[in-house]
């Protein structure tokens, strides 16, 4: 299938604000689907709540729109019930690591064969731009009008120490690059994680003196460093910067394979294979 065939054209224009990076990430996802050669019947998109949770409305693949922060829990259930499916999970920063942080670390630890795409826009966009756990220090949000005093999460590092199989980070404007990471993540057996930094033009941009979308895109680009360049930089130079690129790829068996090996060795019937 071609990438534009995955999109429900009748639902466009999208629900997102003008200049929001989510449309670009959705474009990346469809390009990754084309690259991975998936069909509408063997793929499920599981999403949570928030602006990014709406992505399932614009794609033709099977979708499950869950409750806030629990997308990974639902995806785990879907994958265990039918291991043949490609399960892609759409998480936001508020959804995935602030409210659903516990599900996130345990999905990484269990190493279940899921592909999680986390769009990090540094705030809760849908509810009015409150700060989330990834909001950078000193930035203004509607709940931190004098500047945020907490440090933000580095989600890729959290995924790495929790045991994820594959980790990459990209920015939304690099559409084809993000598509390559997502396609590679889908090909890996185990918990693969792609973080995409996206601009929230309506709240984060306007609150932080970036009135028009292009200014926010330029700022976002100035905060990232490619992995190859970062290897030559000192720790001081890398402060407050995000490293983009393929960050981590470790071998190892995923939960489903280990589970099936275990029950086969004990001679127990595999219920997931039963129609």
């Amino acid at each position: 299938m071609k990438h534009n065939e995955f999109i429900r054209e009748d639902r466009l224009p999208t629900f997102w604000c003008g200049g929001c990076g989510y449309g670009q990430v959705m474009n990346s996802i469809t390009r990754a689907f084309e690259k991975a050669g998936v069909t509408l019947n063997d793929t499920v998109l599981v999403s949570g709540i928030g602006c990014w949770g709406h992505v399932d409305s614009f794609l033709k693949v099977n979708a499950f729109h869950g409750t806030h922060g629990r997308a990974l829990a639902f995806a785990t259930g879907i994958k265990l019930a039918n291991p043949e499916l490609n399960v892609v999970v759409a998480l936001g920063d508020g959804d995935g690591v602030t409210i659903g942080g516990n599900h996130f670390i345990h999905a990484c630890r269990r190493n279940i064969d899921l592909t999680a795409i986390l769009c990090n826009n540094y705030n809760y966009g849908m509810t009015g731009g409150q700060y989330s756990s990834t909001t950078p220090e000193h930035s203004i949000t509607s709940t931190s009008p004098y500047g945020h005093i907490e440090p933000g999460f580095d989600i890729c590092k959290l995924a790495e120490v929790s045991g994820a199989r594959y980790i990459a980070r990209s920015i939304s404007e690099n559409v084809t690059q993000t598509a390559e990471y997502i396609a590679e993540a889908m090909s890996k057996k185990g918990f693969s994680f792609v973080e995409v930094l996206t601009p929230c033009t309506t709240h984060y941009g306007r609150n932080n003196a970036m009135k028009h979308p292009p200014e926010l895109y330029r700022w976002l680009k100035s905060t990232v460093v490619p992995a190859a360049a970062a290897a030559k930089m000192t720790e001081d130079q890398l402060r407050n910067k995000f490293i983009i690129g393929k960050l981590y790829d470790r071998p190892g068996q995923d939960y489903g394979t280990r589970y099936r090996d275990e029950i086969q060795a004990k001679g127990i019937e595999d219920l997931a294979k039963k129609e």
């Binding site: 224009p13 604000c17 003008g18 929001c20 449309g23 028009h212």
Partner: protein, 64 residues
């Protein structure tokens, strides 16, 4: 020669296409749909088509 089409029903006027265009083919003011005024200069890099968050732009090779 390239033909640049913008779907006015989808465009939200964010100005990213005009900002990203390396050949500056768009005429754009805030709050309006951009116009591909200098499409003769287009080299078909597809930056606008790929990066448009609303999937509103199509760039196709046109017969000269």
């Amino acid at each position: 020669m390239y033909e640049v089409r913008i779907d006015p029903k989808r465009c939200k006027g964010c100005g990213l296409c005009a900002d990203f265009c390396p050949r500056n083919i768009y005429d754009f003011s805030w709050g309006s749909v951009p116009v591909a005024a200098r499409s003769d200069d287009c080299v078909g890099c597809m930056q606008c088509e790929v990066k448009c968050p609303e999937l509103a732009i199509t760039v196709r090779e046109a017969a000269p």
